[in-house]
């Protein structure tokens, strides 16, 4: 199908973009277009104005600053996939990107677009949640940052005001010996996951796990951290028994029920995939 008519704006600066956004309520921001364009084509959304962010060069880029990695909202998924900075500091993101759509969609799709679209099963929001990333937003009223834990407001809706635009996502890489895993189950390659699981494990000098993060995608309205499982792993040696017990927490979550899978099945997948993500983490030599 073809989109309903709209006015098209291609601002060259962030200031112009947020100016337009403030002035035109109901306008939609167009980033990589891999979700918004299908929604326009299918007439799920029919905005009067589309504000294209693709001509604003300053919104894309990957920068290391003070031990953190700042990724501009318009950075393409394919550029993240190939970035040596991501490979070195955020290897689990690189692993997750392999599961995001296809070459053609990753060539256009952006990290900011993924986060703002906030599909419950999307990989990049799960990775942002895993790292407790910080989201930067701007409007004509000023700039602010939002902790990723606070970023999902409800189903497919970020905690952004109508006049706000996401500008960057900042990650704090884990230091020391760290292992990671990312697995997902979907019916066809490149589809959104039915359930995905990711983990980061930090090891202390005594070889025990001194820090753990676990996240599930696709089970609820937003990516879900598993604090009980993380606590179970912290201080442990990461034996298969530790992993089995930690993964059991994943089955006690509340899961959603939809056309793709029932809640029971999602809970089952959550446990199995959490176990697999942990197994994958220890099977790989930790860096």
């Amino acid at each position: 199908m073809k989109p309903a008519p709209f006015r098209y704006h291609a601002p060259r600066s962030v200031a112009d973009a947020v100016g337009l956004l403030a002035e035109r309520p109901g306008a939609r921001l167009l980033s990589g277009g891999q979700s918004l364009m299908p929604m326009l084509n299918l007439r799920y959304v029919m905005p009067d104005d589309v504000i294209d962010l693709n001509r604003i060069d300053t919104l894309a880029g990957i920068a290391e600053e003070g031990g953190r990695v700042r990724i501009g909202g318009m950075t393409r998924q394919r550029d993240l996939e190939r970035s040596p900075v991501v490979a070195r500091h955020l290897p689990v993101m690189r692993e997750a990107l392999r599961w995001v759509g296809h070459i053609q969609t990753r060539n256009r799709g952006t990290i900011g677009g993924s986060l703002c679209h906030l599909d419950p099963a999307a990989e990049l929001p799960a990775i942002a949640m895993l790292y407790d990333a910080e989201v930067s937003a701007i409007s004509v009223r000023g700039e602010r940052s939002i902790a990723m834990a606070e970023f999902p407001a409800f189903y497919m809706t970020p905690a952004l005001e109508p006049d706000e635009a996401l500008t960057a996502v900042t990650f704090t890489p884990w230091t020391g010996r760290t292992a990671f895993g990312f697995v997902e189950f979907s019916r066809r390659h490149g589809d959104f996951a039915v359930v995905s699981a990711a983990c980061l494990l930090g090891y202390g000098p005594d070889g025990r796990i001194d820090r753990a993060a676990l996240v599930l995608g696709g089970v609820g309205a937003a990516p879900l951290r598993l604090p009980d499982a993380e606590a179970r792993l912290t201080g442990s040696r990461g034996t298969s028994e530790d992993f089995t017990e930690a993964a059991a927490f994943a089955e006690r979550i509340e899961a959603m029920d939809d056309a793709h899978a029932g809640a029971d099945y999602r809970r089952h997948l959550a446990r199995v995939l959490t176990g697999r993500a942990l197994a994958q983490a220890v099977a790989r030599p930790a860096a």
């Binding site: 073809k2 989109p3 891999q34 364009m37 326009l40 759509g101 053609q104 256009r108």
Partner: protein, 163 residues
């Protein structure tokens, strides 16, 4: 609503100018404004890959990009694959050889995707090739011969490079 907007871009090395509504996507612009009907339109929501073209060297879904966004871009379509004298691109030759198409509807999108794949990872093995092709649907062939042709072309291309 707004009038049409001007779009100037290069397609297969030639400069084109046209006008379109803001809502026109790139694949429709190529087909209807420029008459380049080699690029096909299937689902129009980013699932089938029939509309794949190269924009500034990268394979993208032509139905998920506005023509206005390609203003100033360098686009390559299936019409630009064969040499001026009609000599087929190694990919096209391999597709003919391996009988990698039946109705041909998916073929332009698959070829344009593979241009990028052969460029980036000419040493891709079968599993990697299948993953690279996962964003292109073919309702006829069952993919066997497409994968075979892609691997043959990859070999031909890296052979030329190695020489």
């Amino acid at each position: 609503m707004d009038d049409t907007i001007a779009v100037a871009l290069r397609v297969n090395g030639r400069t084109f100018q046209g006008r379109c509504e803001p809502r026109t996507h790139l694949a429709d612009f190529l087909r209807h404004e420029l008459g380049l009907t080699g690029t096909h339109v299937g689902c129009e929501h980013g699932v089938c890959g029939a509309c794949t073209v190269l924009v500034d060297g990268r394979a993208v879904r032509g139905c998920l990009m506005l023509a206005a966004q390609a203003d100033g871009a360098e686009v390559r379509t299936v019409e630009g694959l064969a040499a001026a004298d009609g000599t087929l691109h190694p990919l096209q030759a391999a597709f003919v050889e391996a009988h990698a198409l039946q109705c041909g509807f998916c073929t332009p999108g698959i070829l344009m995707t593979l241009v990028e794949v052969l460029n980036d990872t000419p040493d891709a093995d079968e599993a990697e090739m299948r993953e690279a092709l996962s964003g292109n649907l073919c309702r006829c062939t069952g993919y066997q011969n497409i994968v075979k042709a892609a691997l043959t072309a990859a070999k031909a291309v890296s052979g030329v490079r190695g020489a």
